[in-house]
Every structure is written in C-alpha cells, then in structure tokens.
C-alpha cells in the first residue's frame, strides 16, 4: 500500500492559454510549488509527490501546431523533473493522427508517457456513436488512439463536462469496444454541468474499465460515487491549473469523515483514491 498523493490531471504552459484564456502563464515551477504546498490529509501534512502533466489544451486546437510544437514546453519540463512529472500527451484526432501517434511512440519511455488524452469538446468530434454518421468517421479517428493505449497498456483520459460532445454516456460505445483499455472519465462529466456526474456513475457501474476523475465534482455526487462504484475506481485529480490542488484534494479526503460530511472511508481507501489508483493504472512508481 502506498501513501503517496498523485495528481493525474495538470496543465502547464509558459504563456497565456490560447483557448481557455487563463494566464499569464502556469510554468512548471509554479506547478512544482503547488505540489509542494502543505496539504492536510486525514490529520497529516502531505505533499503531492507526482503529477501527470498535459500541455495547455488550446495549443492542440488552434494555430496549426504539430504535436511536437504543442508539447514542447511539457517535454522540456519533464526532462527537468523526471522524478516528479509524468506525461499525458493531448491528441487532436482531426489533425495528422498517424504522425501524432508515431511521435508519442518515440516519446513513450524517454518522457514518462503514462496516459493518452482526448478532448472531444476542444477538437469538435463525437466519440464513436451507435449510428454510422458520425460513428464510422469517429471510429476511424478514435480507435487508433485506443489501440495505442492497448499497446502501451495505459489508460485513455477523456474530457467530459458539457454538450454536445462531452456527455459521459457518449463514452459507452468505445469503452465497450475496448474493454481491456482503462478509460478515465475526466471531471466525471461535471465540468460545466455538475449533475452529469450521476450519468458518469452509471457509466462506471456498467463498464468495468471506466474510472471516474474527481475534479469539478461536487461532494454530494462524490458520496454517491463512493457507494456506487467503490474507492478503487475513483481517481483524485485537480485540473491544476486552473484549479488549485488544496480544495480539490480536501474534498476527496473528506470521504474519510463520518456522515453526513463524508462516508467514513478508511485511510487505505482514501489513499487508493488520491494516489494508489492512478499509480496502478498509469504504472507510476511510488515507494510503499
């Protein structure tokens, strides 16, 4: 059992994010400083030991950058902090998909690639649907990403949280088609519509390979999640930046409290949620 805190959902960028707009920058040193702040976890002061980093999402959407260009700063940062940072490359499946996947193969070991990221809202596509239009085109874009995840034995993290492309139920067809590939439903769909988390819970209950991320989730839905799918399928994530790590981590560790504020989760259960599950799925080495 590991008692490390791992944050598998972070973004860094050395300038303003071109689509979301947040800024003026969130450099790797700011992220490391955020990880090293004191966080009270069930009465102990802890730090975030490791983080999985993504680039600023807008870089993969506007400006016609290659995947190497949109990830240049993340690559440099991982080289600088190889023991703290792991890599989740963001794939825009509408743009030179084969080149992107080939590049990620090159990066795999040198840059701690431990996950693959899809963002249907940012890149304007529906995940594979039951209908042929746009289902067949979507399969052509998305299945190669899942095949790469299967080859690497890593999860695919999929952004969820708003209409029309990022509704948790839309994950069901591809999760069913690749039952051996873990899927992390980022934000549990709650990013802009908190009650979407209830749909994500149903998705995770009905698909063994679907895990739920906790950023932007509200406590009542997190409590439902614990009882519905158990602590081994819940994954703490901050979405820092723009979210802070403190309150997002506190919400998950509050499951330790007795009802009505928490569920009375055991210490080991909480550590599965705030580190162990991510370490297991993403094969992030942590000390026992």
């Amino acid at each position: 059992m590991t008692y490390a805190v791992i944050d598998p959902h972070c973004h860094i960028i050395p300038h303003r994010e071109p689509v979301w707009g947040w800024g003026p920058h969130f450099k790797v040193e700011q992220l490391i400083a955020m990880m090293d702040r004191d966080y009270e976890v069930m009465g102990e002061i802890k730090h975030v030991e490791k983080a999985v980093v993504m680039t600023g999402l807008g870089l993969t959407s506007v400006g016609h950058r290659t995947i190497a260009e949109s990830h240049q700063y993340v690559l440099e940062s991982i080289k600088k902090y190889p023991d703290r940072l792991y890599f989740n490359p963001v794939i825009n499946p509408r743009s030179a998909l084969t080149d992107q996947l080939d590049q990620i193969r090159v990066w795999k070991d040198e840059y701690n690639v431990c996950m693959l990221k899809l963002h249907p809202s940012m890149h304007n596509y529906y995940l594979p649907t039951y209908s042929p239009f746009p289902g067949e085109e979507s399969k052509r874009m998305i299945y190669p990403v899942f095949e790469l995840a299967r080859e690497f034995d890593v999860p695919v993290m999929i952004h969820m949280g708003e209409s029309p492309y990022s509704i948790p139920a839309q994950i069901a067809p591809v999760a069913g088609a690749f039952p051996d590939v873990p899927v992390i439903c980022a934000h549990s769909g709650a990013n802009n519509i908190p009650s979407n988390a209830l749909d994500a819970i149903l998705l995770a209950r009905t698909h063994d390979n679907v895990y739920l991320g906790t950023s932007w989730v509200q406590m009542p839905e997190l409590v439902q999640m614990y009882y519905a799918i158990g602590p081994r399928k819940i994954i703490y994530e901050s979405d820092c930046s723009p979210q802070a790590m403190g309150q997002t981590l506190r919400m998950v560790t509050n499951l330790h409290l007795p009802p009505p504020l928490g569920v009375g989760a055991g210490k080991d259960e909480v550590y599965h949620m705030i580190g162990g599950n991510a370490a297991r799925l993403c094969k992030i080495p942590v000390e026992s």
């Binding site: 802009n192 908190p194 979210q243 802070a244 504020l261």
Partner: protein, 285 residues
C-alpha cells in the same frame, strides 16, 4: 480587530434529511465542532466565529406534516443554547404563510435574534414573480408578504438557486427590482446540479441589493464574481452539511488569494470581508 468568519448557510437536524439526502443527523454540537475544527485560514489558525443555521430543508417540503414552529423548534433551541455562535435562520415555505406564521417570524427575529429568511423555489415548487400574469400574479400573492416582512424586519432573504425549472438565478431579477430596499442573497452562486453563475452575476450587477453566496461555487466563477461585482457583495457560505466548512473556506481562499491563473491575488483584507465582514455588515453584527 480581526474580521470574524461567518458562515451564511448551515443546517442542523436531529434526524436524517431524506429529501436533500444526508444523515443520520447533524446536531448543533456537530456544527460547533466543525466551526471549531483546527484549520488555517489566510496563514493563521482560525475558527468559524458564527454561523447562520437553518433547519433541515427536508422538514419543510410541501408534504411535511410539521408546522412552521415545529420545523424551527430545534434551531430555536440551539440558538438559545449557543447565542454567541449561532444565528437563527428561517426556511420559509411560502405556501405555509399566514398571520400566525407571520407572527412567529416576527417573534423569532425580535426575541431570538434570527437574522435571515431562506426561500427555496425548487423544494417548495414555485416560480419567483415574473412578468407573465398567469404565473406571476400567483407568485406575487404568495411571496410579496414574505418580502414585505423582510423589509419590515430589516433582514436579508437567501434564495436557493442552481437548477431548472424554478431555481434559475435570472428569475431573481424582477423581484430584486420590485424590492430594491430588501437585501437578497443568491445562494450557491447559481450552481447546484447545473451552473448558472453568469446569470447570477448579471442579476447582481444590475441590482445593488443583490449579493451572492459561495457554497458549491466553481472556483473560476468565484473569481468572475469578484471581478463583476467586487468583493463587497460576495458572501462565504459552507452549506454544511453536506459540505465541509474547511474545504469550502479553502475553495474561497485559493480562488481569491493565489496568483493567477489559479486565483486572482486578492488582498487578505478583502478576502476576509468575503469570509465574514460582508455578512456581518448585512446582519448588523
């Protein structure tokens, strides 16, 4: 003198709230323990000095067989027990309103220092007054006596918002204009099952008498709130239970005080106003 931390919205009950969905109970002593829990706020140890405490909302739904006085008996008992820590809050199911309830409300405010009315359009099934006469007139007849009483007693009204169809913050706009001398607090910054923060802020921007409360608020929307209406009309609330006060305070502190892009680097003094100073002013503390 340090600005106190005051929590705008908490609940207590001897039994589970099976409508909202928390339990098995949350006593006044449980709330006080949370208020006194060890925590650091703005780099200093800090307790929550006072809290506005409401009954469990589930006791007030239309199918409840409890009278208005019964709904509030445990809060009244607790406020009398902890007068320095707890401020009574009235959950006003508008459909229960009559002369006797009116008198009870007056008595709670005058004799027991109750300080706030809370109305909940979703639970109690009504639209706030709108322009369309077919819905608007009935709503006015039901709600205006409450608003007039808030004016008479000089207490603010907390309005639940955060989901369709009844609790959309834009519907606060009309009544905020009609009762411009009554202070209204839009609860949850318009965020519960759905997020209507921008709508809440549009209303607050139009009406000086409209404040916003922070429980359940998304952190980037707290920042937007302060940029839109200034820190003076943003009020900390935890909505404990089911939310935990330290996490909700941390949400406010991180969003307001950390450097961009995480926060907005608001000064500690102004953040303190959000955490308690503004509500102290509103409640005349």
């Amino acid at each position: 003198m340090t600005v106190p931390i005051i929590d705008c919205i908490t609940h207590i009950s001897r039994t589970a709230d099976n409508v909202i969905g928390w339990g098995p109970r949350f006593l006044a002593e449980d709330l006080i323990a949370q208020m006194d829990a060890p925590r650091s706020v703005l780099s200093r140890p800090a307790r929550i000095d006072r809290a506005v405490v409401f009954p469990a909302l589930g006791d007030t739904v239309p199918t409840s067989t409890l009278s208005f006085d019964e709904q509030h008996s445990y809060v009244l008992e607790s406020v009398r027990k902890y007068p320095d820590r707890l401020i009574g809050g009235i959950v006003m199911h508008a459909r229960l309103w009559n002369d006797a309830v009116h008198e009870s409300v007056r008595r709670l405010v005058h004799d027991h220092n109750f300080g706030m009315l809370y109305i909940h359009p979703s639970l109690h099934k009504y639209w706030l007054p709108i322009q369309t006469p077919s819905e608007g007139e009935g709503s006015k007849q039901m709600l205006y006596p409450l608003f007039e009483t808030a004016r008479e007693l000089n207490i603010p009204i907390l309005i639940h918002t955060g989901e369709q169809p009844y609790a959309v913050p834009a519907t606060v706009d009309f009544v905020a204009g009609e009762f411009s001398d009554v202070n209204l607090i839009i609860a949850h910054l318009g965020t519960q099952g759905e997020m209507f923060t921008i709508e809440a802020l549009l209303v607050a921007e139009r009406h000086e008498n409209v404040y916003v409360e922070t429980s359940f608020a998304m952190p980037h929307m707290l920042i937007e709130a302060v940029h839109t209406i200034g820190p003076e009309r943003v009020i900390f609330g935890s909505n404990c239970p089911p939310l935990e006060p330290t996490q909700q305070l941390l949400n406010v502190e991180e969003a307001l005080t950390l450097d961009p892009p995480i926060g907005m680097a608001l000064a500690a003094e102004e953040t303190r106003q959000v955490m308690g100073g503004n509500l102290a002013r509103l409640l005349g503390i």
